[in-house]
Amino acid sequence: MTSSFIHPSLLLIAGALVLPFVRGPLRRPYLFLVPLLALGAVMLNTGLSDTFGVYRFMDWELVFGRVDKLSSVFACIMALMAVIGTLYGLHVDKAGEHIAAWFYVAGSLGTIYCGDYLSLFFFWEMMAFASVFLVWFRRGKKSLRIGYRYLLIHTIGGIILLAGIMLRYQAVGNISFDLMDVAHPELYTWLIMIGFALNAAVVPLHSWLPDAYSEASFNGAVFMCAFTTKTAVYTLARACAGMEILIVLGVAMALYGVIYAVMENDIRRLLAWSIVSQVGYMVAGVGIGTDLAINGATAHAVVHILYKSLLFMGTGSVLYMTGKTKFTELGGLYKKMPVTLFFTIIGCLSISAAPYFAAYVSKSMIITAGFEEHLYVTSWLLMFGATGTFIYNGLKLPYFLFFGKNNCSDETWERAGDPPGNMMIAMALGATLCFLVGSAPSFLYSMLPYPVDYDPFTAYHLAETLQILGFAALVFFLLKGLMTPVDKICLDVDWLYRQLGRGFMWLSKNPIQWFDTAWGEAYRAVGLRSLMTLSKFWSWFDWHAIDGVVDGLARSVRALGGKVRVLQSGQIQYVLFYATSLAAVVVITFILYQLY
């Protein structure tokens, strides 16, 4: 590997492998140091702009270090998130959780830096197989089942992606991971796009996300909310920018997530639906494909990681302290968790694109890009979705969790309180970054893939945002009775998956099992009987024919032996007599033969 490029994934993987041997007082400094080193490596790489770590493997050229502005900005936020996430879970003693998280981040960074589909697929699968442990490590009754569902879906996505990669290799003769010809899509273009889209939780391939993220461990969810979907957005921006179907899918995601989040009773599942909705903006931006849209999608991915991780840290604190995640079992927590409330409110303002908070400088870039391309319906619908984001995340979440009716049991109320110091420091870091990015976005804009000619701090944008937030809040407080959470779950397309699974099980247990039984009976009745008859014939043949010959030969030898045996008296004079007589016969025969 070229000396100037340091692959952060190697640092994280090496750090994860050494972690079990680092114990006692060194454990926490080590936990903090490894992701910090990875972040340092990424920052150093940001100064580069070239391709590094190029190896030949069989006929293929593997590229592990493609450094350009698009990969650098995504790598920076991923590495920063690894630091914040590890800091949040610093008190977790189980090394396995940190190892899984670091392998997960390593997979994401490997995907972001790679320049070919083979290494991409390797790191892609590393992400899936590492992140499933963050679900299993919650160790709840449902964790194992949900983890397997998550793995199954991602395996299917991986197979679709691999099929696309193979078809593309057959068609174009290389495995370079670059922008595809989206104006003339081939089958492999669609397959690769679907493989990426599944990880981006594009509707209707999204149901794994609320299923898994809401059931991950309290710190596992902080990692999961950042990496899989945003890495997928990166791959879509790299390979599928300008693919128009992504605009439709992105808008569908933005609205679908809003409706389900409004209905949701589980605070972390609400945030998971929120990811579906927010990633929809990024997918739509990638679909629009202009410089401003790609910049907007990238910027929104960066700020989304910041505010979403902050929100998952806030709700994770509630889970960690109370053991509860349902609105119907919580409420009124401002008295017991004021610091958590404060940081969560900053996350809520950030996701709602409130002025001077994170999404204010990114979401509007995507919507403006839509307007500039005369995609009015797209932009109106995205604005509609943005209003919904404020309803469920800016108002519903804090209101019903920290204010509203107190549904806590005595035990829950007793356990509630602000979390340990390291968790609050991580939230403070996330909240600070949300405010800094939202109020001074020039640093973020300088990192975006294309030159930025966009100013979010116009009077019109401020007026537009304040009107939407203000009047949406008014309607919320007038109609909040309609939004009061109820202890129910929402049916999603996973109902269809489950029905298909149930249908498969029915097929297995009924017609397939019946056929298997019938086949067994038929085999026993027909096949086994004929086989026994044939076996009996061969037994008879063996006994009478083969054994007859062999035994006959043996009997002949034995009979001959019996005849010859009488000659064996054991007395030397008889032996000499027989030998001499035989010799005499031979000599006489020879002489007679010579004479005549």
Partner: protein, 93 residues
Amino acid sequence: MTQFIEYLQTHLKILVGVCYGILVVVVGFALVVDTSHAHSWVEQHIPAFWSIFGAIAAAVIIVVARWLGRAGLQVRTDFYDCCTGDNSNEEEK
């Protein structure tokens, strides 16, 4: 912070009045702001357009979500349990 929130709760009418006042200021600001660079005709020609948009969008989202929930999307929590054996996660810490 807790005390401040409780203070606001005990003076709820004042808080609501202040909020309405803020809304009036926001609308006033929207009426005087330059809309000539807005992207669409409706933004340029309908006064305080985004106030109307925000209110209608919020109402539609809340009502549609409520309707879909009542129409059958929201089901009891043990809906899947009868066939899968799923149970809720135990409380944890």
